[in-house]
């Protein structure tokens, strides 16, 4: 459903993303972790067609993001870490606009808007200007906008930013439910607890390279730390100063 092959990005002499390859299958929730500056957001921006890859391919729902960008973009919903929305639109007007971009008929859009605003408990605020919303509410609006066209793939950069505990629980539950219904989710996060709770598989990026990938138990096996939490695994994998110290291929197997 989502495949990345030898993805690369350089800024001058600095390699930000280095030969990154991974696959996320249908119905899978993939958590993408990494320290600050590891290349997570750059990877996501290349996946969404916001940045031109320096090399490699991103294929979403069978469509290459560079060669067939419109079809690929119609297949995913994206939530950035800082969702800049239109301050002077109400959620209802905003979702009508988004629906129109994806070619959804107005009558369909109305029912979907109501459903998704209700899911995120935003229905009472549907006629208030987005400009007056808190960061968490904006994040919820960005989620409703990403879900409005029922995409088969969801790409999220930091899903829990600004969400209150209740909002976070709703979102985690919703993501799991949707994935069980066939949604493929690629979630970049710093919240290791969230990744541990909801992800089917986890990938760790460090200095632009994917240094580990697998289920929680596979990651534990890789670091030979049974019963350890993701935090310990993450810290152990990313603390090495020299990336060469980590036997990536061995860990993968």
């Amino acid at each position: 459903m989502l495949s990345i092959e030898n993805l690369m990005k350089r800024y001058g002499k600095r390699t930000v993303v280095d030969q990154l390859s991974l696959t996320v299958n249908r119905g899978e929730l993939f958590a993408f972790l990494g320290p600050n500056g590891a290349g997570k957001t750059t990877t996501i921006k290349m996946m969404c067609g916001l940045l031109r890859p320096g090399g490699g391919h991103v294929v979403i729902n069978g469509f290459d993001i560079v060669k067939n960008s419109r079809a690929a973009k119609a297949s995913f919903g994206y939530i950035p870490d800082q969702p800049f929305l239109y301050d002077r639109l109400t959620p209802r007007e905003f979702l009508r606009f988004i629906g129109g971009l994806y070619g959804i008929k107005p009558e369909d859009c109305d029912s979907r808007t109501e459903y998704w605003l209700d899911q995120f408990e935003l229905l009472p605020f549907q006629d208030e200007l987005i400009g007056s919303f808190s960061h968490g509410m904006r994040q919820k609006i960005a989620f409703t906008a990403a879900f409005i066209h029922n995409p088969p793939v969801l790409i999220v950069d930091e899903p829990m930013v600004g969400l209150d505990p209740r909002g976070a629980v709703i979102l985690k539950k919703l993501l799991r439910q949707r994935c069980e219904a066939g949604l493929t989710a690629f979630v970049s996060t710093h919240s290791l607890d969230v990744a541990e709770q909801i992800a089917d598989r986890i990938g760790i990026i460090h200095q632009g390279r994917l240094i580990a990938e697998g289920t929680m138990s596979e990651l534990r096996d890789m670091t030979r730390q049974s019963n350890h939490r993701l935090e310990s695994i993450f810290l152990e994998l990313t603390r090495a100063r020299d990336i060469g110290e980590i036997p990536v291929e061995a860990l993968r197997q």
């Binding site: 916001l50 419109r70 002077r88 639109l89 009508r96 606009f97 988004i98 971009l101 070619g103 859009c109």
Partner: protein, 563 residues
């Protein structure tokens, strides 16, 4: 650990601004200096032109009016007029800026949660408001004052005295702006107050410009008699009251023309006293009411869903087209900063019509030529309007551009929709301007039609040029869409638009020009019957190219992800 004192705090609070300016040109990723240098050059050009015109005007008054007392009165009136216009503008500008500096700016919270004294924060914000509001005075008014000093050549050193007068007369509007701004926020929300004052400011500026224009200062250049001077002074009767600091400043400066330094010093002292009193009042208001204003003054953000959203179900257009159009209309409707600019357009049209009506076109004898001059002038107004509304059409997406960039957008349809959205108002404005001006000239209907069609070609071409070039290098980081055109690409657009306007008019008048010239020059006989159809086909081809080439380049640029 003791918190830093006032001076040190003030220095620290200004450090990020200084660093930011330095980093813009000499930091790790410096901005290219060329666009700034071009703008600087154009600014200096403007200042020089203003200085030259003012010098001529003052010199004229000196040469024409031999009565010392009358000369003094006239100069003082002129300075008062300049000062009053600027003071009113400054107060409004300061109110808007003070709301931004003291309430809505992102630095405000950062400052208030640090161990920095209240007085240092007040001073930092006050200086910021002062600089952001007063620069226009320095650019627009100081060349006039310099011209005044050159023409009158006062005995005493003029510039230090000028500085002593100007500084307090700039501090006072800032103090007034801060006081009014804080008191207003106690009643309304910062956003609403700023919007209201933005609109009022535009109304005011437009009104002042129109009044100034209709006073016809160019009449001063005409030779005038004493009777006319009296009449002129009568028309200059403006509300410059004894207690108006603007009048004190003007009187103080004018006193130099009469070599009366004592009067100058008197007004200077009066101004400084009032300015310091105003500053003290502003600080007291800040200390007493800032927290109250910040925590109070809220207004509901609940709005009625836009009617177009409700009626969209019956629209025959595609959801994509509808969505974009509807969003643009709603955002335009809800942003007074945008639609208030329509007032500026209306003012521009009125000034244009006024100027055209007062043109001594009968002197030139060529109504035909004047008709096409009006086509050119209307074209220039259109190109300027499109620099404001068409050129930033794509950049206006701002930081929300990610919504479109990550969606399955047909960029071709998107950009052509922007073009179509602008083409109707452009053609309409062009038609109104041309029809009005050629009707004044009382020319044949056939010529009116020719001028209107030429204006349509200019409107279509300039719209395509503005939208297309604006899409090639969009500035999504710009907060103010009006600033987008102030760039190298914006300048390129203006130059190309002017060339296109000249070329179109040149082609349209070519058959008649050749026919006219062939009367005197026999060698032109062979092209005497220049095919009018061929000329119009050529105009159509050039207009199409001027639209299609930048639009296609813009589409290509929008399709490309960022490198």
């Amino acid at each position: 650990m003791t918190p830093p004192g006032f001076i040190k705090s003030l220095g620290l609070l200004f450090a990020p601004d200084i660093r930011r300016i330095r980093n813009t040109y000499a930091g790790p990723s410096p901005q290219p200096a060329a666009p700034s240098l071009i703008i600087l050059f154009l600014g200096l050009l403007f200042i020089c032109a203003e200085y030259y015109v003012s010098t001529r005007l003052f010199q004229h008054i000196m040469d024409q009016i031999h009565l010392e007392g009358l000369r003094y009165v006239l100069l003082a009136k002129l300075l008062q007029m300049v000062y009053l216009v600027f003071t009113v503008l400054l107060i409004y500008s300061n109110i808007v800026m003070s709301i931004s500096s003291y309430f809505t700016s992102p630095e405000v919270e950062m400052m208030h949660c640090r161990p920095v004294s209240e007085s240092a924060i007040f001073a930092n914000r006050f200086i910021e408001t002062f600089i952001r509001s007063s620069w226009m005075f320095l650019v627009f008014a100081v060349p006039i004052l310099f011209a005044y000093s050159r023409v009158l050549a006062p005995d005493e050193p003029f510039f230090p005295q000028l500085f002593l007068i100007i500084l307090p007369s700039l501090i006072l509007p800032t103090a007034a702006g801060v006081i009014i701004g804080i008191l207003l926020i106690m009643v309304f929300s910062p956003r609403r107050t700023q919007q209201v004052f933005l609109i009022m400011g535009i109304f005011l500026a437009t009104g002042l410009i129109m009044i100034f224009r209709m006073m016809q200062p160019e009449k001063l250049i005409d030779p005038i008699g004493l009777e006319q001077v009296n009449f002129y002074l009568d028309t200059l009767r403006i509300p410059t009251i004894d207690w108006s600091p603007a009048a004190w400043a003007a009187e103080g400066i004018a006193a130099y023309g009469e070599n009366r330094p004592a009067i100058n010093r008197h007004f200077s002292v009066r101004l400084w006293g009032t300015a310091l009193f105003g500053l003290g009042c502003a600080f007291s208001i800040f200390r007493l009411f800032w927290w109250k204003a910040r925590s109070g003054g809220r207004d509901s953000e609940r709005v009625e869903t836009h009617p177009s959203v409700k009626t969209r179900k019956r629209s025959p257009a595609s959801p994509f087209r509808c969505s974009l159009l509807q969003r643009d209309l709603i955002l335009f409707n809800r942003d007074p900063g945008q639609w208030s600019q329509l007032i500026v357009i209306a003012a521009l049209i009125v000034i244009y019509v006024f100027n055209f009506k007062n043109l001594p076109y009968e002197l030139y004898g060529f109504q035909y030529s004047m008709a096409f001059v009006s086509v050119g002038a209307a074209g220039l107004i259109l190109s300027a309007l499109l620099a404001r509304f068409g050129f930033p059409a794509v950049s206006a997406e701002g930081r929300s551009i990610w919504i479109l960039q990550t969606g399955p957008i047909n960029w071709r349809r998107y950009l052509w929709q922007k073009f179509l959205f602008l083409i109707i108002p452009s053609m309409l404005i062009g038609t109104v301007l041309v029809v009005f001006s050629v009707r004044i000239l009382d020319v044949r209907t056939a010529l009116v039609v020719k001028c209107v069609v030429a204006e349509w070609a200019i409107a279509v071409g300039c719209t395509g040029l503005a939208v297309g070039l604006g899409a090639q290098k969009p500035r999504f980081d710009m907060k103010d869409a009006a600033m987008v055109a102030v760039s190298a690409t914006g300048l390129y657009y203006m130059i190309t638009a002017v060339i296109f306007i000249v070329l179109t008019i040149g082609l349209v008048i070519l058959p008649d020009t050749v026919r006219y010239l062939s009367i005197g020059y026999r060698w032109l006989q062979f092209i005497r019957h220049t095919d009018r159809t061929a000329v119009w086909i050529l105009v159509t081809v050039i207009t199409s190219l001027v639209v299609i080439v930048p639009m296609e380049n813009g589409i290509r640029s929008l399709k490309k992800p960022i490198d």
